[in-house]
């Protein structure tokens, strides 16, 4: 602690220096968010239209190739969006040693949930 205090203000402000990177993460965040918007509208409208049609109708709808494709895209976009969003939230608010483990855990969690969603969609699409 006493050492940290002796460091010059400029040295402290410079820290570890610039990562010379970050634009891609920032741009990616925006692209996935934009991709997600129309897909979310499509899913909401489609579900509302089938709200009273029953289980079989929904399964038949999910088996249509267009639906399977859009659902796959939606899941990929959604979990990218969640992962990038949570990354920003964690980097903003977590300042202790657990930051990196939390970030890794969050990424793996999003991956697992996304894959689970894809398996479900494919199971319905390809299942008997």
């Amino acid at each position: 602690m006493s050492n940290a205090r002796m460091r010059s203000p400029l040295g402290r402000a410079l820290g570890l220096g610039s990562a010379k990177d970050g634009v891609e993460a920032w741009w990616r965040e925006r692209v996935w968010a934009v991709a997600l918007a129309p897909l979310t509208v499509w899913l909401t409208v489609s579900i509302l239209m089938r709200a009273d049609k029953g289980y079989a109708a929904v399964v038949a709808w999910l088996k249509m190739p267009v639906t399977t494709t859009l659902m796959t895209l939606l899941l990929v976009a959604l979990f990218h969006h969640i992962a990038f969003g949570l990354q920003v939230v964690i980097e903003d608010y977590v300042h202790s040693r657990i930051k990196i483990p939390v970030l890794v855990g969050m990424r793996l969690g999003c991956l697992a949930l996304g894959v689970a969603g894809l398996v479900a969609i494919l199971k319905i699409a390809l299942g008997a």
Binding site: P9, L10, D92
Partner: protein, 279 residues
């Protein structure tokens, strides 16, 4: 509504501050207590109450709020006039920074009625009763309304806010066309009062690494200067998930700039520059 300048902000706000008890979660030594009340001078007729933050770290005591009953007929129309009046006639121990008293030096930035502004350009008539005066938020306090700006000036130094040129030194001035000069409008006017950086939530949470709106505006000013030849190096130094991209376009900075500058737009433009150079 996207805010482009601080003069577009509505005068009335629903919530003056987020409804959490004032001392919630605050370390016992930092809790703000009630201080003393200074009555108005005898014979005063137009009296306004000012609640002012007082803190002397060397005293070992907690910060406190002193209440001053100010005789508006005896002082000028601005908040700074009130502070000077208090110091001259009531309580000489009140400490604050000021120099130009006309909004060009940036010394007198403080939190007035919940908004960061220059005390010398804020009319008393626009304040609530009681009016509340705090120092800029999120800074170490040296005394009363004087914050420690060391780190902010170090961050300013980091972006090398001076002309960096590689062409041989010219015999005469470095010329700029009127159009090139116009690119600096909305950037060069910054007086480094740090009203914006002190109001920026991203700088509250990550101020050690995020440069904050004032410094990013200065960085922009040199990035767009037609005479500067270090644009690439400057971008390298800025492109960082924390230094630059920690700005989440919350736009508090634009809301609170006493010079009416649009930091939000300046930062958004810089964020796009690295895309431009790689695609």
């Amino acid at each position: 509504m996207i805010i482009r300048s601080s003069d577009e902000v509505p005068r009335t706000t629903v919530l003056k501050r987020f409804p959490v008890p004032r001392n919630f979660g605050v370390d016992a030594a930092s809790r703000i207590n009630r201080g003393r009340t200074w009555p108005a001078p005898r014979g005063a007729t137009r009296i306004k109450r000012f609640d002012v933050y007082r803190y002397d770290p060397e005293s070992g005591q907690n910060p406190r709020i002193d209440t001053y009953q100010v005789d508006l007929d005896d002082c000028g129309p601005m908040v700074l006039d009130v502070l000077i009046w208090i110091k001259n006639t009531v309580d000489p121990s009140l400490t604050f920074r000021r120099s130009c008293r006309e909004g060009v030096c940036g010394s007198c930035a403080m939190n007035i009625d919940g908004t960061n502004w220059l005390a010398c350009t804020k009319f008393n008539a626009d304040l609530a009763t009681p009016a509340t005066i705090y120092p800029l938020a999120n800074m170490r306090i040296i005394k009363d309304l004087v914050p420690d700006l060391t780190h902010l000036f170090a961050q300013h130094r980091l972006v090398e806010p001076w002309l960096r040129s590689k062409s041989p030194e010219p015999e005469r001035e470095r010329l700029q066309s009127p159009q090139e000069r116009a690119q600096l409008d909305g950037l060069y006017e910054c007086i480094l009062c740090f009203c914006c950086t002190s109001g920026c939530p991203s700088h509250w949470w990550n101020g050690d690494r995020f440069l904050g709106p004032a410094v990013l505006l200065q960085a922009t000013r040199w990035l767009v200067d037609s005479r500067d030849e270090a644009t690439g190096e400057r971008l390298d130094d800025l492109e960082d998930p924390f230094r630059l991209y920690r700005c989440h376009t919350i736009l508090n900075c634009t809301r609170t700039c006493p010079k009416g500058l649009n930091r939000g737009k300046a930062i958004a433009d810089v964020k796009k520059m690295p895309i431009e150079r790689r695609s």
